[in-house]
């Protein structure tokens, strides 16, 4: 069905701006029809990586291959890598249809055909009736869809997106996530999506690339990144994780004086990660091992409520509960609770 050779290959790609190393030794393969999210904090090199793919930045060294062709010397306008900007970068001096037609016009498509194709895409994006509007007459969500139509009308084999949803209201973000995943499935093309929002990345991507300080910190499926972060950076970046330090001795880890089962871990000091939604809260000290912690605050987080605690060593602990659980627990700042987890919920951070 799909060609097994990757669509995009980054090989030893480096990019420096003066003394600043934006990207250090990047090696990455992106498959055909894959939805890849590149995620990381500001300045981690994710946008630079995307811009190098589009040809808007040239790598300082290394090669980028698209569809078997080395791209280093291919100018921007000869690439088939349409990008959706964070600012959308719609042309304010052109109307909606003219914006969508732009790419076809540059490729020399005849006026009648490009008009037809532009109108088809506008229709598909739910913009029928807005064909002759000026860009400044559209809402944020409508502009977003014009930008998508403008990039997709040329039927590219991949679409690059640079934080396209970051300027939208929360309810629109969820809707646009639906639009994007549906589009990607229908078109079967590769999406490379740069974001700092893990909810966007985890909701849409087949594979997530976490970058930090110009390097890939971890590549994996959203579940893997969330449940099994490979290092402290990823664990912290993903949030909603408890990072606990302890000492392992014979499949037992001792944290704050309590012994928890941790099968298969090497002896010595380690860090483990327990996801907030795997943390159990007890109002009274359980018979099994548990960490005593003081309730600090709660936060509504879409799918549930995150309770924040402070352990005896001053460490921050998080546990996700439902609203009814919260009602039963009746937490108040300063109240003591006990936190525990099932042995399979703990994941040892490598290194």
């Amino acid at each position: 069905m799909t060609n097994m050779t990757p669509l995009v290959t980054f090989k030893d790609v480096k990019k420096s701006f003066g003394a600043f190393k934006a990207v250090k030794e990047l090696n990455l393969e992106i498959g055909r029809g894959e939805f890849v999210a590149i995620m990381g904090p500001s300045g981690c090199g994710k946008t630079t990586t995307l811009r190098m793919l589009a040809g808007l930045e040239a790598p300082s060294s290394g090669t980028i291959t698209i569809d078997g062709q080395e791209m280093n010397d291919v100018p921007v306008h000869d690439r088939d890598t349409p990008l959706v900007w964070q600012s959308l970068a719609l042309f304010p001096f052109l109307n909606v249809t003219e914006n969508v037609e732009f790419g076809l016009k540059m490729r020399g498509v005849a006026p009648d055909e490009r008009r037809t194709r532009a109108l088809q895409w506008l229709d598909r994006m739910g913009l029928k009736g807005f064909e002759n509007r000026r860009i400044d007459e559209l809402s944020g969500g409508q502009r977003q869809r014009v930008a998508l139509a403008r990039s997709l009308v040329t039927e590219p084999q991949m679409l690059l997106l640079d934080e396209p949803l970051s300027a939208l209201d929360a309810h629109l973000v969820i809707r646009m996530q639906g639009v994007l995943t549906k589009l990607q499935k229908e078109l079967g093309i590769t999406f490379v999506y740069v974001t700092h929002s893990q909810s966007e990345a985890f909701a849409m991507a087949d594979r997530v690339v976490i970058m930090g300080q110009g390097e890939i910190a971890q590549i994996g499926k959203p579940q893997e990144i969330f449940r099994a972060p490979q290092n402290r950076f990823v664990a912290e970046f993903v949030g909603r994780n408890n990072i606990l330090e302890g000492v392992v001795h014979g499949d037992i880890i001792t944290i704050d004086g309590s012994d928890f089962a941790l099968p298969g871990a090497p002896d010595g000091p380690v860090e483990i990660v327990v996801a907030a939604d795997r943390m159990q809260i007890h109002a009274t000290a359980p018979t099994d091992a548990a960490i005593a912690a003081e309730f600090v605050s709660e936060e509504f987080a879409g799918t549930g409520i995150i309770c924040y605690f402070e352990g005896e060593g001053g460490e921050e602990l998080k546990a996700q509960v439902t609203e009814s659980q919260l009602a039963t627990l009746q937490p108040e700042p300063g109240k003591m609770f006990w936190l525990s987890w099932a042995p399979d919920a703990a994941h040892v951070i490598a290194g």
């Binding site: 589009a54 808007l56 100018p75 921007v76 306008h77 000869d78 690439r79 890598t81 349409p82 990008l83 900007w85 600012s87 970068a89 719609l90 042309f91 304010p92 001096f93 052109l94 109307n95 732009f102 790419g103 540059m106 490729r107 002759n132 000026r134 403008r150 990039s151 040329t154």
Partner: protein, 280 residues
């Protein structure tokens, strides 16, 4: 709820309103009125006759001067816009911030010196036996007559308007959202298409304002067509001077002036309308 403007706010606006009223609107109305006055025995008498208008608008020398002036101003505006653009483009997109800052500073420096002084300098440079012809002579060419010609006048106009046009163009080009340019390239536009289809439309307002300034300044200029153009053919500004000198014909000169101002109003209004025109 309409906010009442306080006396305090009016007090700050008043100086400008008074100034414009006393020294722009007032003289303008006086000049329009004067164009209907009569001159008897070399003295003006207030009246309301169309003699001056009739006389000026039916004479070929007026219309010749009018078209020469209009054509030269148009040519100067086109020439200045075209000559300025590559420099403005380089300053806006290629130069570093430091270079751009210095360049803008050096573009302001010419205004330190009186325009008249700069034109005298050109008289020396462009003279038949001047340094420019000496250099050309080394190459075995010339000498060329550059003074007292259309070419001379055009050099003068460029001296007057080029720095300003470069500044206006540079600011409008530098203000373009860079992602628009990248988006054009990303969508398959080569550098030339990007320039014509995105950069020029996006900087349209500044480019048109630069053109209009060049037109207005050249259209009304007296110094260049007189000292470098040799008054031949006369422009409207020269015509005004000649008319006032010959027989104190201030009312006829007023006709010429009113025609000039009317032309500039039309051109400036049309240009600003075109610059800010929103497409639907």
């Amino acid at each position: 709820m309409a906010k009442k403007t306080s006396l305090y706010e009016y007090a700050w606006r008043l100086p400008l309103i008074l100034w414009q009223g006393l020294f722009f609107v007032g003289p303008l109305l006086l000049m329009v009125a004067m164009s209907f006055w009569l001159v008897r025995n070399y003295r003006m008498e207030p009246d309301f006759v169309f003699n001056n208008w009739d006389r000026m608008l039916s004479r070929d020398y007026f219309w010749n001067a009018y078209f020469v002036t209009f054509w030269r101003a148009t040519l100067a505006a086109i020439l200045a816009s075209v000559l300025a653009f590559p420099a403005s483009f380089a300053l806006a997109f290629r130069a570093s911030d430091t270079v751009r800052r210095w360049a803008v500073f050096f573009l302001i420096v010419p205004f330190f010196t009186s325009y008249l002084v700069r034109i005298y300098a050109w008289q020396v440079l462009l003279a038949e036996s001047g340094p420019l012809n000496a250099i050309i002579g080394f190459l075995g060419l010339g000498p060329f007559t550059m003074l007292n010609s259309g070419f001379g006048a055009m050099v003068g106009y460029m001296t007057l308007v080029l720095p300003l046009v470069v500044i206006l163009q540079t600011f409008s080009l530098a203000a373009i959202d860079k992602s628009l340019i990248e988006a054009a390239r990303n969508l398959g536009a080569n550098p030339r298409e990007t320039l014509l289809r995105v950069i020029v439309p996006a900087a349209k307002v500044g480019l048109i304002i630069g053109f209009v300034f060049a037109f207005i300044l050249s259209f009304g200029d007296f110094v260049s067509p007189f000292y470098l153009g040799g008054s031949n053919p006369p422009t409207l500004s020269i015509l005004i001077v000649d008319t006032t000198k010959s027989g104190q014909q201030w009312p006829r000169a007023a006709v010429v002036a009113v025609m000039m101002i009317a032309t500039l109003f039309v051109v400036a209004f049309a240009a600003v309308a075109a610059a800010y025109r929103k497409r639907s």
